[in-house]
């Protein structure tokens, strides 16, 4: 590590550095607090590296633009916050259906609607999962510090290519705006997944939706040597619309299976003092920092407390949560919403009665005192 590799940046800038490291070369977006610095920084950085930055008229257009750019062979990203994420949902579903690799950053602020623009929230967890209509699977990732924002962003680009899917980065206002140290990994230090391109030559029929034996679908840069169709309708291996029940069934199952069957390899998490923990805190994003503070503090006083920090929120790593909570007497989910991950944890564990919520929904980062007070209430000690 030398001095030039150390940066003191916002989480939003760490995300930008990682996206460029992963090979981002097209960004389309519409600035919105608290994600604006992502667009702002990329408007300067992308042209320097030969990439394209486009400020669109709105978030619907932003999402559509990155879909088109991805099809032509680019690594693409857009960034927004709740209101913009709502507008993107229709095209996000199109990207799921047409299997377009892309990364969507949602730096969460208070909602619903325009909500609480400059304040923190984690209220979009379920929107990331089910914001767009129809059965589908999705990948959503998060992080609690800038080094992890970097690595999880690179992961997002890699997973988008591996599974040919939109990947959502669900950060929050505190992480996006907070500044701390980032050590820039050297080139090659984190492996990158590049676009899987078809070996079918010009003049030979290319079937955009004909899986290889391993289930992956090689792509051909749209507008290049092959002519093919892309649609949001159920489609056959040529990409043309079909309502043939066998094709509809097969495609929908494929869209779900390619992600759900890889739940454990998509799962990213960190654990602290879980080996003998009788009380397990589960958290993610900025609230995991407060939870870790409490865990370290209580460990120093001899209490058997541990933390499971989730970085993959969708597909929900239910197996890992069940396993890590197996021996816990009490599980407390620390989040800044009304219990969105809580519900998943309750479903995952063997004994849902032992799962409690420690939350805050007023736009203020949940602090260690809040968590300690709620723990005391749960333990019947009063605040």
């Amino acid at each position: 590590m030398n001095e030039k590799n150390i940066k003191f940046v916002q989480g939003n800038e760490a995300c930008v550095e990682a996206a460029l490291y992963a090979g981002l070369n097209f960004f389309a977006g519409y600035p919105i607090t608290p994600s604006t610095e992502i667009a702002e920084t990329l408007s300067a950085r992308l042209p320097q590296t030969g990439g394209k930055f486009v400020q669109m008229e709105d978030e619907i257009a932003s999402m559509c633009a990155i879909i088109g750019a991805s099809l032509t062979g680019n690594k693409v990203m857009t960034a927004t916050s709740g209101p913009g994420f709502s507008l993107m949902q229709e095209a996000l579903g199109y990207a799921v259906m047409a299997e377009i690799p892309c990364v969507i950053v949602n730096v969460q602020r208070g909602g619903p609607s325009t909500g609480n623009p400059t304040h923190v929230s984690q209220g979009d967890v379920n929107q990331a999962r089910w914001g767009t209509h129809g059965d589908h699977a999705i990948i959503a990732l998060t992080a609690s510090n800038h080094q992890d924002v970097f690595s999880i962003t690179v992961d997002a680009f890699n997973m988008a290519e591996t599974y040919r899917t939109p990947v959502i980065l669900l950060f929050d206002e505190v992480i996006g705006h907070m500044r701390e140290r980032l050590i820039m990994p050297e080139k090659g230090e984190i492996p990158l997944v590049e676009r899987l391109k078809t070996s079918v030559k010009r003049g030979v029929d290319y079937h955009p939706y004909l899986p290889r034996e391993d289930g992956r679908l090689p792509m051909s840069d749209f507008g290049g040597v092959h002519r093919y169709n892309v649609t949001g309708l159920f489609h056959d291996m040529w990409g043309f619309p079909s309502s043939d029940p066998a094709i509809v069934h097969g495609l929908l199952r494929h869209l779900a299976d390619k992600i759900m069957n890889n739940e454990n390899s998509i799962a990213r998490y960190k654990e602290y003092f879980l080996e003998d923990a009788r009380t397990v805190l589960i958290s993610y994003g900025s609230s995991a920092r407060s939870a870790l503070h409490v865990v370290k503090n209580r460990r120093a006083r001899g209490e058997s407390l541990g933390l499971l920090e989730l970085q993959t929120l969708w597909p929900f790593p239910a197996d890992i949560v069940r396993e890590k909570c197996e021996n816990a007497k009490c599980v407390i989910v620390v989040e800044m919403n009304m219990g969105q991950v809580l519900q998943q944890v309750k479903t995952a564990v063997d004994n849902p009665e032992k799962v409690f919520l420690a939350n805050r929904i007023d736009g203020v980062l949940i602090n260690p005192t809040d968590i300690r007070n709620i723990m005391r209430l749960i333990q019947g000690k009063g605040v």
């Binding site: 150390i6 003191f8 400059t118 505190v174 701390e180 900025s286 920092r289 870790l292 005192t369």
Partner: protein, 181 residues
């Protein structure tokens, strides 16, 4: 080292957040320390109450916000009225004599400094008010060296403005040093 928790408060446009970023960046890039800077603010670009929290330490910082600061700077009356009760007993409470009339008795080292007036008398340009304030801070608590602050400033502003920033920093150090502790 003892963990230092600081809150810089004032009005949007006074450079409160910039000052917080500069001191935290100086600690990380030039003093090999750990620092976290965060802020809370309204939707306005100017006006409105602004607050930025900085924690500087030599060990990992998890919770990034400051609940009870060791050092609190208030550059407007509103900021003083709002935040003076959160000062940690024994901490430094720095206010500017032009903008803030202190009224409460707090269990802190309350330092009323003529920062704005000195900047206007000696330099004549209010834009370096926040750098003078930073000087006062590092004059009182030796967290980072003045050279480290200058190294950061040099990367952030046009070359023509470096001299008045250095002057403002030195001015602030002079105002703060007598209260070193």
């Amino acid at each position: 080292m003892e963990r230092i928790r600081m809150v810089f408060s004032g009005s949007g446009g006074q450079g409160v957040i910039t000052a917080a970023i500069i001191i935290a960046e100086a600690a990380v890039l030039h003093e090999n320390l750990v620092a976290v800077q965060s802020q809370s603010y309204g939707a306005e670009a100017r006006g409105g109450a602004t607050r930025s929290d900085v924690i500087i330490s030599d060990t990992e910082i998890n919770f990034p916000k400051v609940t009870y600061p060791n050092l609190l700077v208030c550059l407007t009356q509103e900021a003083y009225n709002t935040f003076s009760p959160i000062i940690r007993p024994g901490g430094f409470l720095i206010t500017d004599t032009r903008y803030v009339k202190t009224h409460t008795k707090v269990a802190a080292r309350q330092r009323e400094l003529p920062m704005y007036q000195s900047v206007m008398d000696e330099i004549g340009k209010p834009i370096v008010f926040n750098i003078c304030m930073l000087g006062a801070v590092i004059g009182m608590i030796e967290i980072v060296k003045p050279e480290s602050i200058m190294k950061v400033i040099e990367t952030r502003i046009p070359a023509g403005l470096i001299d008045i920033n250095r002057k403002a920093l030195e001015l602030g150090i002079k105002l703060g040093e007598p209260f070193k502790g």
